[in-house]
């Protein structure tokens, strides 16, 4: 508790996890809104614009909380991780600066037009505002992922005389293979979150027997997008991310799977408990040789175990990493199954009458949130003990002049503010749902 680093890590992990509850929805919803507005323009049917109007309200509330919870993350680079900033600012400052310049200005300029401008703008103009928010938020996502990718797999840098990192190749840094893979995986996951939320809303209205036109449209949109993107998040993008880990962070892969011994035909553990003290996995249920195939594309490939690496390079919290990874992968599988079933029923025209499946759809919307948080936990715990993989250890990244008490104090401050924000969020979202979709046309 007297260790400042513990508090720095807790604070960043806590504030980043909380923050990302909101952007994952808004980035995904931005695409949903663009699709709905485009359908509205194409067909001139009021129901698409009515649906878009409802989701824009939900988007606005989430976006506002996303903005205000994002500010502290930018500050923490300097306040809590000063040594890290000094060491690597010459590189990651590029992407963080570009995010402000190319993404935030775009988003902030058109946000007001999207939320309040439907009457003032032409339908095309309003579609344009939706498009601007989609592009802006997805650009913002790229700059953040590229920053994180540098910490996972540093490329395009040189070491200066004073030991700090300097930019050597901008394009190598910006087009880091890790960034491309992780970006695709992460953005598709955001659309999965939004799809589940849209489908849950449709299921809720169908079960209640209210807003029939909107209930059907949301159910349909959420299910179709949900199935497509739930599959894409696993294959190919999840697969690509896994192969990147296998290639660049083999120790992390071993820890994610709780694998201690090396060898070919490595088993994929579906369920089991890692016992780090005894260097083994307890009560495993495993698929033979599948891990070798997933990691390297061949059943006979050798997958290294943790024992092959010096222990000071192991992630410190192997159990947490293992469980986070298995929660993510397990939920990902369940989500594909849920959406496949819903899509099948939709295709047969029986989804609106199948109450058990509607109940599942209504209650499944937290799954993508949990899976996403677990996925980021895999990325960040898997990176340990490094802050920048192979270059800077986490223990050397904190601010030397900030003590544990200060950081504990501000962490508690955030906990308090987040409680307030959560209550506000629940209250305001609850009100919007109670209002339901509002139609500007006489019938719908």
């Amino acid at each position: 508790m007297g260790d400042p680093l513990f508090w720095h890590r807790l604070q960043f992990g806590f504030t980043a996890t909380y923050h990302y509850l909101f952007p994952q929805l808004t980035m995904g919803l931005a695409l949903v809104i663009v699709v709905l507005k485009a359908m509205g323009l194409r067909t001139s049917e009021a129901r698409y614009n009515d649906a878009a109007r409802f989701w824009i309200k939900i988007f606005g509330i989430n976006f506002a909380i996303g903005v205000v919870t994002g500010i502290p993350l930018e500050f923490q680079f300097g306040t809590n991780w000063a040594a890290f900033s000094r060491f690597s600012g010459g590189i990651i400052g590029q992407t963080l600066g570009m995010e402000g310049m190319f993404a935030f200005f775009l988003e902030s300029s058109f946000l007001g037009m999207l939320i309040w401008g439907e009457k003032k703008l032409s339908p095309r103009g309003h579609f344009g505002a939706a498009l601007a928010l989609w592009i802006g938020s997805w650009l913002s996502g790229y700059f953040i992922i590229a920053t994180n990718a540098f910490m996972q797999h540093p490329v395009g840098y040189a070491v200066a005389k004073d030991g700090s990192l300097q930019l050597a190749s901008f394009w190598a840094f910006l087009l880091n293979p890790w960034a491309l893979g992780q970006y695709a995986h992460n953005m598709i996951a955001a659309v999965v979150t939004a799809s589940f939320v849209v489908a849950a809303m449709g299921a809720f209205w169908t079960l209640k027997g209210i807003h029939p036109v909107q209930a059907r449209l949301n159910l349909r949109t959420g299910t179709i997008m949900g199935l497509i993107f739930s599959v894409l998040v696993a294959f190919p993008t999840g697969d690509i991310s896994g192969k990147l880990v296998a290639k660049y962070q083999p120790i992390t892969l071993a820890a994610m799977e709780g694998r201690f011994e090396s060898g070919p035909r490595a088993n994929l553990t579906l369920i089991g408990q890692p016992d780090v003290a005894r260097r083994r996995i307890e009560n495993p249920i495993q698929l033979p040789a599948v891990l070798s195939f997933i990691a390297y594309g061949s059943f006979s490939s050798n997958v290294k175990g943790l024992l092959e690496f010096p222990e000071d390079q192991w992630p410190q919290n192997i159990e947490l990493l293992y469980y986070a990874f298995h929660i993510m992968a397990g939920l990902g599988t369940i989500m594909i199954a849920v959406m496949a079933l819903a899509a099948l029923l939709l295709w047969k025209g029986r989804l609106d009458q199948n109450r058990p499946v509607l109940w599942v759809l209504m209650l499944a919307f937290p799954f993508p949130y949990i899976a996403t948080a677990a996925g980021w936990a895999v990325a960040e715990f898997g990176r340990q003990p490094w802050l920048i993989y192979g270059l800077l250890r986490t223990i050397h990244g904190g601010s030397p002049t900030v003590n544990a008490g200060h950081t504990a104090f501000t962490t508690l401050g955030f906990a308090g503010i987040f409680v307030v924000l959560s209550v506000l969020w629940l209250f305001l979202i609850g009100r919007e749902i109670a209002h339901g979709p509002v139609s500007h046309s006489p019938k719908a």
Binding site: I71, T79, A82, I92, G93, L96, F105, F170
Partner: protein, 348 residues
Amino acid sequence: MEMLWFWLVSVMVAIYVVMDGFDFGAGILHLVVAKTNEERREVLGAIGPLWDGNEVWLLAGGGSMFLAFPKVLAAGFSGFYLAMWLVVWCLMLRGISIEFRSHLEDGLWRRFWDGTFALSSVLLPILFGAALGNVLRGVPIDGSGYFEMALWTDFRMGARPGILDWYTVLIGVFALVTVAAHGALFLAWKTGGAVHERSRGLAMKLWGGVLVLWIVASYATSVVNPDIFHRLPQAPLGWVASLIFLAGLGLVFAGLKRERFLLAFLGSGAFILGLLAASAACVYPVMLKSTLDPQFDLTAINAAVGRHGLQTGLVWWLIGFPIAIAYLAFLFRFNRGKVKAAAEGEGY
């Protein structure tokens, strides 16, 4: 190249102060100039579409500093630790107040957010002004490149200065009154009716206060850090900046007198921009002055990253900056004319 980036960062920060300054000003004054719910919504309607974009200048300016002078960012942010978090919490509360205030048609709810909006809008310029005061006064950076400061000590200069001492608080108050005066002109320009009349009446008084505080703050600065004024004769950019802020001041009073409020508002923007640029010109190349020993100063030269990073940053900066200005122009054009309070359930 380092000098160029020193100026890019300074200009971005100055633009931030001008832009977010007017919406801070609106927040400081709105309890006074806007009495009824409709009037408050008029104020919020004027700044609502703009405040978020204004705040991006802070992030973009901070990002530019991060990319060009990470040592300054690391030392400053960790050294001002608690003050930084006060700033962040105020920014968070303020954003939420603006965005959520009109979601509910309830008097108590709205009065609560009006209060948090006003309080955070008052605290922020004081804190930012105090930060500027710290930069001008200097901080106890040592050979490690870091420093640590209490939020306040005994409010005196000396061996153990706090983030807040008499001088930095004075600069904070100067900043508070200046952005309030700046915001009053913005409201006088963008609103009609009672809000306009009250803002306009206040603007005259506030600008009188700005003049007095400007003289006091300048004198105090010359006492605290005499080097600043000694450098002015050798800093041609400082003369240019001084001309800009003097011209701005002239425009403010001329505009107020002739009731041309856009002109006066532009004048007050020029005043703030010029004053900050003149300060930057006088401290150059020092970015964070050490009170312990000049050799520990963090300067644009010893805190900058390598050339390649600066050159790369410049390329995309030259692309991004005009785009940002274009959005801004579009946004002001889209929201041109006097604002009206939005209908219930719509707008800010």
